[in-house]
Subunit: 145 residues, 2 copies
Amino acid sequence: MISKKAKYAIHALVKLARDREKGPILISEISKEGHIPQKFLEAILLDLKRAGVLNSKKGKGGGYYLIKKPEEVNMADVLRLFDGALALLPCVTYKYYERCEECTDELTCGIRRVMQQVRDETVRILKDSTLATVLASEKSTYKEQ
Amino acid sequence: MISKKAKYAIHALVKLARDREKGPILISEISKEGHIPQKFLEAILLDLKRAGVLNSKKGKGGGYYLIKKPEEVNMADVLRLFDGALALLPCVTYKYYERCEECTDELTCGIRRVMQQVRDETVRILKDSTLATVLASEKSTYKEQ
DNA sequence: ATAATACTCTATAAATCCGATAGACTTTAT
DNA sequence: ATAAAGTCTATCGGATTTATAGAGTATTAT
């Protein structure tokens, strides 16, 4: 499961992408519309600003707005920013790598191979999924599943 | 990331599958070999017993042993037993379903669709991966990746 | 200039979960 | 009987998560 922080972040980003023609959007507006505690949201938006995804404008008429193109913001990066590694085990991550004590030989470890597969597929799907594709899929009316 | 509990469980199960011809295996042996804290492991093995995967024998010559066939124990079920849902969001789980507050229309929610895909792939891979396939892949010498 | 607006920072609290340990108890083989 | 081995209950410290409060700072319209 992803953290609420990450979930809130995605929802906020999708809204900012959807409304990106409207100029800066108030924190309070994102908070109300998404039922996200405002103070909690503030911290999240700041993180996204530091990460170079958003920028903000202070003062009257201010608010937050997207500075990357919607096609350039993918779910893998957002989840990593808030929740760390996507992999299920530390031994199959790149940035957060850690050896497993329990494992005698990592190169032949069968558990590791499975988790590697899961990671690869997960990353593939999340990388392919950007704010642009999410918005587009919202508009399509056919229902999957 | 999966919990240590789940990771320990998988390692213990793989060992029990590997040594299943040897009769009951001592908790202490699994603990030592896998560098798993013994008391913690005890609770894990009990959970697996209650789940019908293992059985135990008390007294001298006792220990734990697998009662399901290695092909019948898959990673998806084990992870679910210890860590709950595999999905990244509560709105794409079956057993642990919960509606997301932030979401206006679940049927068109783009975020949900992505997470649904991730879940489907993850479950597919983990269901296909059993104690039997893990053991088999340990024996193969070629190295992926 | 200045008041209103809105973002930024620091601190902290409550709740929950995780990983681990202790010790007494029960069952079983010999 | 007794030693071996699993079972049960209770508990603990620490980390993490989620959330809130309040003071402080920057910006803009007018």
